[in-house]
């Protein structure tokens, strides 16, 4: 197959032609590529990525240890519909209405706010990552030191509450922001009616609270 037939025929005279010992590899090559195509289509090269999530056991959450977050460190994030994010600092109480703001999942949205709140840890983490990139510390040391840095007492504590209009993507996105912003202390909490009210109030500023 890989040869164009240029033989004009020997005409029956002379010595018998010497048979070539060359083997034609074309069919084998075809077969090889066919198999490659088949395996390429039916297999996957990479294993899926995962994000680890550990929730507290249900019976561990009691009245005493439920709200031990320092008010100055607390950041509450509410996931709304259409990829909107609402946030406020400190605790929400009936007497002291927190200032609630709206943002989104873009790079200048919630990430900027969290990075700003978590400046110290982020700066330390960046220095540590530089060290790792230059190979001055081992992977193990990196992990150990990263945990120490993230356990900073002044690091913000993020409380994530999701409304029923949010999607799973929003939840993963916000957990992702926790990782990007090196926030180790966060919790996923059920939304309260008061939080829902706050969202309504920011969506319709004119409407009075009933």
């Amino acid at each position: 197959m890989s040869e164009i037939n240029t033989d004009k025929g020997s005409g029956g005279k002379g010595k018998p032609k010497k048979l070539s010992t060359r083997v034609d590899f074309t069919p084998m090559c075809d077969l090889g590529f066919l198999l490659i195509t088949f395996f390429m289509l039916s297999t996957s090269m990479s294993k899926p990525q995962t994000m680890e999530l550990a929730l507290p056991a249900k019976d561990d959450v009691t009245e005493e240890n439920a709200s031990k977050v320092k008010e100055s460190l607390a950041v509450t994030i509410l996931l709304g519909k259409e990829d909107k994010v609402y946030y406020y600092f400190g605790m929400a109480t009936e007497e002291k209405r927190p200032e609630i703001k709206v943002t989104d999942f873009s790079a200048v949205g919630i990430r900027d706010i969290l990075l700003q709140r978590n400046q110290q840890v982020v700066a330390e983490m960046r220095a540590l990552k530089d060290k790792l990139a230059k190979r001055t510390i081992s992977d193990e040391d990196f992990r150990k030191q990263a945990t120490e840095i993230k356990a900073n007492k002044l690091a913000p504590v993020v409380i994530i509450k999701s409304t029923d209009d949010a999607t799973y993507k929003n939840l993963v996105d916000i957990l992702d922001e926790m990782q990007i912003c090196s926030i180790a202390k966060f919790a996923i909490v059920d939304i309260t009616d008061y939080d829902k009210e706050l969202i309504v109030s920011v969506e319709n500023p004119g409407a009075e609270k009933i």
Partner: protein
């Protein structure tokens, strides 16, 4: 005019080298990849910067589709048979050897218990079709999903729970799954995501 004689050159192309390359590539692909498993539904996982890989074995896959239907899959074929036996005990169903064998080949499924026998009976090619994607009941009245997870944990205590939910899955549906798992004291999950580049400068 003198005749110009053109030397007749052979047009034979040596394919040996190309064959070598083809089989080398084939070897590489065979060794580095793993087969795509057929899943009950196709879901689009959200992306995340997390770089943790899922463990190789002992995975319990929970798939949640955009409508909140729940699908269940366990990776070990022998343990699947054991799980089916336990489920049979729990719901007073008996499965014969053929049904057990057929069930051990199902990677993931989403049918209520009442339909399980019928589901096992249909040929494996059409098991993944849409009319069989009903979802396992996961509400408080009839929480069969909870039973599946509980018995799977009994069968294999080393299981890692991997949740694969669609981007568009509404949060309450996902919360429902998490609540069910939390009731069973399963508090560590792996959320399956696609890899996304870590933003620069942070």
């Amino acid at each position: 005019m003198p005749k110009v004689k053109i030397a007749r050159k052979s047009t034979f192309v040596d394919m040996t080298a190309m064959t070598d390359v083809a089989f080398l590539l084939l070897n590489f692909i065979l060794l580095t990849s793993n087969f795509v498993k057929q899943e009950a539904v196709a879901v689009a996982a959200p992306s995340s910067v997390s770089e943790i890989k899922i463990p190789e074995t002992n995975i319990l896959t929970i798939i949640v589709d955009p409508e909140g239907k729940v699908f269940f899959g366990m990776d070990n074929q022998e343990l699947r048979v054991e799980l089916l036996e336990k489920i049979g005990e729990r719901y007073d169903l008996t499965f014969d050897e053929k049904e057990k064998k057929e069930f051990s080949l199902v990677n993931s499924f989403g049918v209520p218990i009442e339909m399980l026998k019928a589901f096992i009976a249909i040929p494996s090619e059409s098991k993944g079709s849409l009319e069989n994607a009903i979802g396992i009941p996961c509400d408080s009245l009839n929480n069969q999903f909870s039973e599946w997870v509980r018995l799977a944990r009994e069968v294999n205590p080393k299981l890692t729970i991997a949740i694969k939910a669609d981007q568009a899955t509404p949060y309450p549906k996902f919360k429902n799954v998490m609540n069910t798992l939390q009731d069973l004291r399963e508090n560590r999950y792996n959320l399956i995501t696609n890899l996304e580049q870590m933003p620069k400068g942070i």
